[in-house]
Amino acid sequence: MTDNEQESSELFEQKKTRRMLSLIEAALYVAGRPLDLKTLGSMINTRSKRKIRTLATTLMKEYEKRDTALEIIKVEDERFVLQLKSEYTPKVRRLAIKPLLSVGPLKTLSYIAYRQPVPQAQVIDVRGHHSYNHLKQLEGLGLIERERAGRTKIIRTTEFFADYFGLSHDLRGLKKQLKNIFEELIPSE
């Protein structure tokens, strides 16, 4: 191979990689949810997990280096998601297309996630009567599920909830992760 050939072949490889990175970025942007290696692989016609992992990680690091408002993070089960860095959320919340949950329902959600599986009566007791509406809203969004148990209902968060926050699907793992998040949110006295 001559130097020229070598050079143009490298350039070709570079372009190919760039194109694959862009396809992964496009997929993450459009989906708005964590995507697994298989789905990402189907975008670039490969089944090599190693290859997809390398590409996704490269993209993640590129975003990190760029230091802008967006980030790519890796969540449970080797899935990747593109999202807004949380520090920008309060400023731009109002521009989101879909109406976002207000603080009340988010507090109820947070309580359920932390105490689950939790009887509905306990949630209402702690969060007040207005939280009946929160429960409806949260259920409508697929973030919690209510299961009849005799005369009461037991509430827990869904897998969709775990995915949304990039948390474990395993209850113990999820609670541990939540605890860490809460500790970060409220510095202990």
Binding site: Q83, T89, L106, F165, F182
Partner: protein, 227 residues
């Protein structure tokens, strides 16, 4: 007005509740611990060596009033304040959902397919006779029929052209806006002519189902919506 310092010690809170009778009207009887107040008063008197029977008498009188207030409340079955709830343990802060843009799957094709179905529904609806009778029986105000019929064609024509002028935006006209500023009789005449116009199918009229307030005029012919 005498300053606080010149007043006897029992005019200072919390004892003053027993001596300033007007204060009794403003308190919640359940908030007053009578036994504590009386004991404090006695101790303070002993400490100061000031024994004042008038004050003691007044304190007794006020105490019995407060007792009476409490028992009246009980008779009214008013609950004494509930014991404070035990603290609910750790209440986690709200979890803000991460913001992610998400392309939705709805396209303009979906919108127009839905429109096709709605318009089919609308046509079927138009074919059905309206349940609510829109046209009240002709009132007595109309002049003798023969004379009126001679004039009616002209009036309809005139009205139709002024409706066309009025409707420069779309085909919908609000009746109240159309007759704004007219005298009552004139408005009634317009309305009657409008009924005739509706009968010929040049306009259609309808009214809100909820409160039968506003009447709307829609052009059946005339300028198309898109100019």
């Amino acid at each position: 007005m005498p300053s606080l310092a010149s007043k006897p010690f029992y005019f200072q809170p919390p004892l003053n509740v027993l001596f300033e009778l007007h204060k009794l009207k403003k308190i919640r009887p359940w908030d007053v611990n009578i036994s504590f107040l009386l004991t404090s008063l006695l101790k303070e008197m002993e400490k100061r060596g000031e024994v004042d029977f008038r004050a003691s008498g007044m304190a007794l009188d006020s105490s019995s009033t407060i007792y009476l207030m409490k028992s009246k409340l009980l008779l009214k079955l008013e609950d004494p304040p509930a014991p404070a709830k035990p603290p609910p343990g750790f209440l986690p802060p709200p979890l803000f959902l991460p913001l992610r843009y998400e392309l939705t799957s709805t396209t303009i094709q979906h919108l127009l397919k839905a429109l096709d179905e709605v318009l089919t529904g609308e046509r079927i609806l138009a074919l059905k006779p309206r349940v609510e009778p829109m046209l009240p029986p002709p009132p007595e105000l109309i002049p003798p029929v023969d004379l009126y019929l001679m004039e009616i064609e002209k009036m309809m024509e005139k009205l139709y052209s002024s409706i066309l002028q009025f409707a420069d935006e779309g085909r919908l006209i609000t009746f109240s806006k159309f007759i704004a500023g007219m005298k009552k009789l004139e408005a009634v005449k317009i309305f009657i002519t409008l009924l005739f116009l509706a009968q010929t199918g040049k306009v259609s009229l309808w009214q809100e189902e909820e409160n039968f307030s506003e009447i709307y005029i829609t052009l059946r012919e005339g300028p198309p919506i898109d100019g």
